[in-house]
Each structure stands twice: as C-alpha cells, then as structure tokens.
C-alpha cells in the first residue's frame, strides 16, 4: 500500500492506496465524490474528466499514486455554499444537461478551457470538449452554454456584478428551455 496526500477541491486528503487504484476510484469509492463518472474506463469518453494541477485529464487513466502531492479539482468544487457556479448555471439555463452523465466531465473540460483561455473562440471550445462524448444534446446547447458564460467568468473575476449570461440567453430564443 502507498500513503498519498493530495488536495481535492482545496481540502487536503490522505489515503492508503494500492498501486492499481485509479484516481477515479479514489475519488468515487474512497472520497465519495461521485460526480466524475466512469463511462468507458479507457480515456475515450471524457465522463471522468477532472483537473489535475489545473489541467483536464481523464481520471480513469491516472493512478491514485500518480496524483500524490498534486491538486485535483472535480465538479464538486464548482458550487460554493450551495450556489451553482456561473458555468454550471449557464449549462442549466442553456438546456445543456439532459441525462447528465457527461455533464460533470463536460463542465470540467470547460473549466480548464476558461482558465487557459478566458475568451475562447468557437474552435477552441469545440477542441476543448472533443474528448467529452454526449449522446443526448447534440452539443449545440453545450457549446452555447460555454460561449455565453465566457465573458461572465472573466468579469466576475474582476469583481463586477454581471448578469450577462441571463441577458444573452434571454436575447437568444434558439436556446434555453428546450427539452
């Protein structure tokens, strides 16, 4: 067994793990963070995407011991005190969540994108989520959620109050409120 220590959503976690345990198993089975999903288990579907030292990775292809000393951020780190993050809110408002299985991974990929590129082009958005498969939405609503939240995420970081997401969504009748 290997003693590891890592930060998960800002909290220091210690665990005793066997070498064969994946980071995804550590998160889900030991730390009860079941947001990240196991879809394929071979890095193809992206449902287990988390940020490892700020970078999106598929947690099914990372060993728990490899994450020793590193920082992990999962979907559970998005909301603060029960308040959805602007990114999560945009997904809800855009109708970008249907069955929900891909959503945690999709949001973490989007989070990684917004951190490295606060004003992503459509091409960058597509590239960032190309490794996240969704079988329900057809992607358009997801692309839209990321597109409209980008300016708000930047502005909220500069301390300005912003309701841009809501405004943009209201002004675009082609999204929002769809089944």
């Amino acid at each position: 067994m290997y003693e590891i220590e890592l930060r998960v959503n800002g909290h220091v976690e210690r665990a005793s793990v066997s070498a064969g345990m994946t980071l995804l198993e550590l998160l889900r089975d030991r730390l009860a963070l079941t947001g990240a999903k196991e879809g394929c288990g071979i890095g193809e579907c992206g449902a287990c995407t988390v940020l490892l030292d700020g970078k999106p990775v598929t947690a099914c292809l990372v060993l728990a011991v490899e994450a020793d000393g590193l920082e992990v951020r999962t979907i559970e780190g998005e909301a603060t005190d029960g308040e959805l993050s602007a990114l999560q809110r945009a997904f809800v408002d855009a109708g970008a969540v249907q069955c929900g299985f891909c959503t945690p991974g999709m949001i973490m990929s989007a989070r990684g994108l917004l951190q490295r590129s606060p004003h992503p082009t459509d091409e960058e958005i597509v590239e960032a989520i190309a490794g996240n498969l969704c079988r329900c939405t057809g992607y358009e609503a997801i692309l839209h959620a990321i597109r409209v939240v980008a300016p708000e995420e930047v502005e909220s970081r500069t301390g300005e109050t912003c309701t841009k997401t809501a405004r943009l969504l209201r002004s675009d009748p082609s999204v929002g409120g769809r089944p």
Partner: protein
C-alpha cells in the same frame, strides 16, 4: 483496479535505470500512461513494477535556444504543441502532436511515450524522422544517442532493452528556413488513429526534401532524401510517390484496407509536397 503491481517514482535517471534494470521484463516505464493503463486494464500487459518517470527533472526539460532543441521525454504532447519557438519553427511538429487523441489525453501522453510504443501509426514518428531527431538513452552502462530512424524494429518493438530510460528527444538547432508539413488521413476528424500519416521537411536553399510515412509498414518509414533543385513539383511528386510505394507494405486492418492505403498514400503525398513547396507551408 488495474491489477496487482508495485509502483516506484524515482527522481533521478540513475535510480530509474537501476529499478528498470533490476525489474527486467517484469518492469515497465510509466510515462503518460494513456496506453499502458489501458493495457493493464484489458490484461494485455501485466508488469509487476511500474516505474513512473514523470517527476525526473531532465525528462521534463524543454530547451529551444541556439543549440539543439531538447524536449524532455516525459513532456506532454500539449506542451510540445503549445511551445512558441517549436511551433514557429516547425508548425508540423505542433500539428502532429495536436492530431493525437483528445485534449485531456494530450495533457498526459508524452512525446517519448508516443515513440516508444512503436505503433506503426505513431503520429510523432514521421515528423521527428524528417527532423532527424535523436533520443538520449541512459542505461546502467552509460548514455547513448539513438536516432529515431534506428528506434523501431517492428510492430510495437524498439531497440531499447530493460534498464534503458529515454531522457529526451533532441533535434538539430531550430532552422527557420526549413518548411515542414504533416498530413494525416483518418476515419473521423480528431480522436482517431491514422489510416495513413506522413510528414515532410524541405530546405529550399540546400535543395533537400525529406519525407516519412506512417501506418503503411510494420514501422514508420523514412525515405531517402530527395534533391529538389531544378525539379518541378510534378516530377518531384512522382519520384516521392514511387519511392514511397517501394518502401511501404500496407496491410488490411480494422481502420482501412491495404488497397485503400495504397490509393490514398499518393494523394496525401501530393498534398504534403504542395504544403512544403508553398511559402510557409504547413499542415
């Protein structure tokens, strides 16, 4: 759970060499793990020791000064692709890296891992072949340079032996005159292995063109250099296509038939040559 094995995380190349030499065939290098962990999961590999080389300083180095360009063996593909100097000098190196898998996987998958898996379809192989790259390999016996052109010995086989650690990938000093291009034929855009891939590097003032091809033989293939001065693009393309046909032996597999590969290879090569003959051309 991906099976029962031990895990070691050396912080020096010497220590990694020793662990791998002691472990012999039962030890495996763990770099990005994007192939190895899949193999552990499906049972096609079952090493008793994984040696994680990602926290060895030299393997994370990236140097693009006036001398050789050095990329540490464990540098992730996204870092290779996004390096400004490499991207400016050799856009095709960046394009080849970005053509691999997905953003998440490229944050893990490494430059040397892509080579050392020795897949005939390895996307980093053709461009590193035409750039005349060499691997720095350290073993308990010492350090040696292995040209990428000498690395591959068969499907999924290399000339490396237990105890060998690839430290870095070295390219000749970045050459602003060199025009590079990469082309990849795949079933779907993104997220797919190559049906055929190829790279070219052209030095117009010296009149030298180098071309390498993947997915059309048991190993990636580097063709003999071509003389480009006083040769029309048409004549040159015909020469390259003839040489490529002679040097490759495509097979039928899950991704494409041999006949399709033979048909698409000349098309890809013509486009590749157009890329490197136009000013600043790149895939």
């Amino acid at each position: 759970m991906l099976g029962r094995f031990e895990y070691a995380r050396p912080i020096s190349v010497n220590e990694a060499c020793r662990l791998l030499a002691e472990g012999g065939r039962d030890a495996a290098v763990l770099a990005g793990g994007t192939d190895l962990l899949v193999n552990l999961r499906d049972g096609s590999r079952s090493p008793s020791l994984l040696v994680d080389v990602k926290r060895i300083g030299e393997l994370q180095a990236l140097k693009t000064g006036s001398g050789e360009a050095i990329v540490g063996a464990a540098v992730p593909l996204n870092v290779v692709a996004e390096n400004r100097e490499l991207r400016q000098a050799y856009p095709a190196l960046s394009a080849a890296a970005l053509s691999i898998a997905t953003y998440q996987l490229r944050n893990r998958a490494t430059i040397a891992g892509n080579l050392c898996n020795a897949s005939p379809a390895a996307d980093m192989a053709p461009i590193l072949l035409v750039l005349d790259a060499k691997l720095t390999v350290q073993s308990p016996q010492g350090t040696r340079a292995v040209p990428v052109a000498k690395l591959f010995t068969g499907v999924k086989r290399t000339c490396l032996t237990p105890g060998d650690v690839v430290v870095d990938v070295r390219m000749p000093p970045l050459d602003g005159e060199l025009r590079t291009a990469f082309r990849k034929q795949q079933r779907i855009r993104g997220h797919d292995l190559a049906v055929v891939n190829a790279a070219a590097a052209h030095a117009p003032s010296r009149g030298i063109l180098r071309v390498a091809i993947g997915s059309c033989a048991p190993t990636p293939v580097l063709l003999e250099p071509f003389e480009t001065k006083r040769t029309s693009l048409q004549v040159l393309a015909d020469k390259v296509i003839r040489a490529a046909a002679a040097a490759t032996a495509p097979i039928d597999d899950v991704r494409a038939s041999a006949a399709y590969r033979r048909a698409v290879l000349p098309v890809l090569l013509r486009r590749l040559l157009a890329d490197v003959s136009a000013r600043g051309g790149a895939a």
